[in-house]
């Protein structure tokens, strides 16, 4: 099963509103990342937060991390039509000296004009 699970699976909001997506994961992590995917394209990295950080900002993005609850949230403020995309959280799993990146199932965000 996948490490990360996003909630909600789909979200539709009015342009200008804020969008919040949540991610829960199962095992201990070193970092958590958020990615965006426009329809039919590869994923694009948005932001990375380390396990010892609680909050991080990048432009209109705000990410929080609660390692005690094994959860993270991505907030997009003042949404725009161009924000319409799928958003995925991803966590790292380390085994000995190697790591793999595991993705959640994603949240489909639609911005209504």
């Amino acid at each position: 099963s996948q490490q990360g699970e996003e909630d909600p699976q789909a979200l539709s909001i009015q342009e200008g509103e804020n969008a919040t997506m949540n991610c829960s994961y199962k095992t201990s992590i070193n970092n958590l990342q958020w990615y965006r995917q426009n329809s039919g394209r590869g994923l694009v990295h948005l932001i990375l937060i380390r396990s010892n950080e609680r909050e991080k900002h990048s432009g209109r993005l705000r990410v929080t991390l609660d390692t005690s609850k094994k959860s993270s949230s991505l907030l997009i403020t003042a949404s725009r039509a161009a924000d319409t995309a799928s958003y995925f959280c991803a966590t790292d799993e380390w085994y000995s000296s190697a790591s793999k990146i595991i993705f959640g199932s994603g949240t489909r965000l639609s911005i209504r004009p």
């Binding site: 996003e6 070193n30 990342q33 990615y35 590869g42 790591s99 793999k100 199932s105």
Partner: protein
């Protein structure tokens, strides 16, 4: 954009035939990954590599094998393609040299098994 190229971009193949997808990078990144993406499942890790000849299984490795004989190339082989392997396949690279870094993705390969 990171130098990562997948080939082919589209392929239609028949059930039971072997298929090889290629991922080529020009970034000299240590880590390379193969994912498949299906509706409702997000991205699922098939196999990954953490160096030349160093590979390991992911979540959905059955029916797939990989090889990495050079830093820049990571091949994904479907030994005997089945309809359940119809999917979009993404390659990604990352350089986790002691510090967590972002993954860069290829444009994907759409594989249809008929």
């Amino acid at each position: 954009d990171a130098g990562i190229t997948q080939s082919p971009r589209h392929k239609v193949t028949e059930t039971g035939t072997p298929v090889t997808l290629r991922c080529h990078q020009t970034e000299n990144h240590r880590y390379m990954y193969w994912y498949r993406q299906d509706p409702g499942h997000g991205l699922r890790l098939i196999h990954y590599s953490y160096g030349v000849k160093d590979t390991d299984k992911g979540e959905v490795s059955d029916g797939y094998s990989v090889s990495r004989s050079k830093t820049e190339d990571f091949l994904l082989t479907l030994e005997s393609a089945t309809s359940s392997q119809t999917s979009v396949y993404f390659c990604a690279i990352s350089d986790l040299a002691g510090e967590p870094t972002e993954a860069f993705f290829g444009q994907g390969t759409r594989l249809t098994v008929v």
